[in-house]
Symmetry: C2
Subunit: 194 residues, 2 copies
């Protein structure tokens, strides 16, 4: 099926501008994270604000276009990990990958992905990640030590939350790893008998 982010027929100049906006956005997000200004992205790309909004009506749309490839990568990684001898390790490795990815754009992704069920194309990304995670979790439940009551949605939210908080303090490089490690415990223990 034809990807609808790059309509089949598009005037060559429009296609050009679209690419330039994407390139500018990637750079801007990497530099300023959540504080990137759409105005400045447009300026940087050498187009008017109107043009930016024509191509990407919302910031979500822009994000989807940018992180689409990453989602693909994460799902592929998930499929690989299905063959990992330890289902528990596979799950936690994948969660770590999700968190690392979510930090890539300086927290922007985490901010968007943690939100309620997005209504746009972001929802599709969400869905794909969920499915991949569910497969890993289910395996860890059956063949590993993951407690039955764990929900994949919760784990992904936790990963995003960790990515978000890690992004707040970039100076502490090991933070993300340590926080994931704490969560790791909860993936393996039987439900605490408090």
């Amino acid at each position: 099926m034809p990807s609808d982010d790059e309509p089949r027929r598009m005037r060559a100049d429009a296609r050009d501008n679209r690419e330039r906006v994407l390139r500018a956005a990637r750079a801007a997000f990497a530099e300023d994270g959540t504080h990137a200004s759409l105005n400045k992205i447009a300026q940087r790309a050498g187009v008017g604000a109107g043009t930016l909004y024509r191509h990407f009506p919302s910031m979500d749309a822009l994000l989807v276009a940018i992180i689409g490839a990453d989602v693909e990568t994460l799902c592929a990684r998930g499929r690989e990990l299905m063959a990992d001898p330890s289902p528990d390790d596979a799950l936690s490795t994948w969660l770590r990958a999700v968190a690392v990815h979510a930090t890539a754009m300086r927290g922007l992704v985490a901010t968007r992905m943690a939100a309620p069920p997005a209504d746009g194309t972001l929802a599709a990304c969400h869905e794909r990640i969920l499915l991949t995670g569910e497969a890993l979790l289910e395996r860890a439940r059956r063949q590993g030590t993951a407690p039955a009551h764990l929900r994949i949605g919760d784990l992904l939210k936790l990963a995003n939350a960790i990515a978000w908080v890690a992004e707040q303090d970039l100076a502490d490089e090991g933070l993300l790893g340590r926080l994931i490690a704490v969560v790791d415990g909860g993936l393996r223990s039987p439900p605490a008998t408090v």
Copy 2:
């Protein structure tokens, strides 16, 4: 020592305005959370923007004034929990309390508290919370099953992260509790031997 958020000598009208701003801010934060506008708070309080900024030069200052009492409560709760028969339970109960508190103002607190070492009076709040937590954690290390390598700063960040993500999806009421429960596992297990 005299609290410096309420200077000893202040003109009666100034004191009045200060109170009104605080009341308006509390209401606005509860309603709009992170998106509360300082402008509207001023309007709501019936004062000019200049007046608001005179009393609270930064949003942090405003926050400190509002949540100061809560910090007190959390520390008190922590001291109580030091007497809890189970050091592990005490720690996790307290972390849950921290997360719940951080959600109180619709995520605003979490957003601010997760940030790097604040440089204002917020830092003092931070410090007090850290000390309380460290005491609980140390006890759980010695008399409970908490792994030695756990850092209280990490745990608090995790609590704030959870509060943040829980706030993103208010519809899911059990979310915060479930996420804390996952982390709970990591507080008790020995370090995973991956």
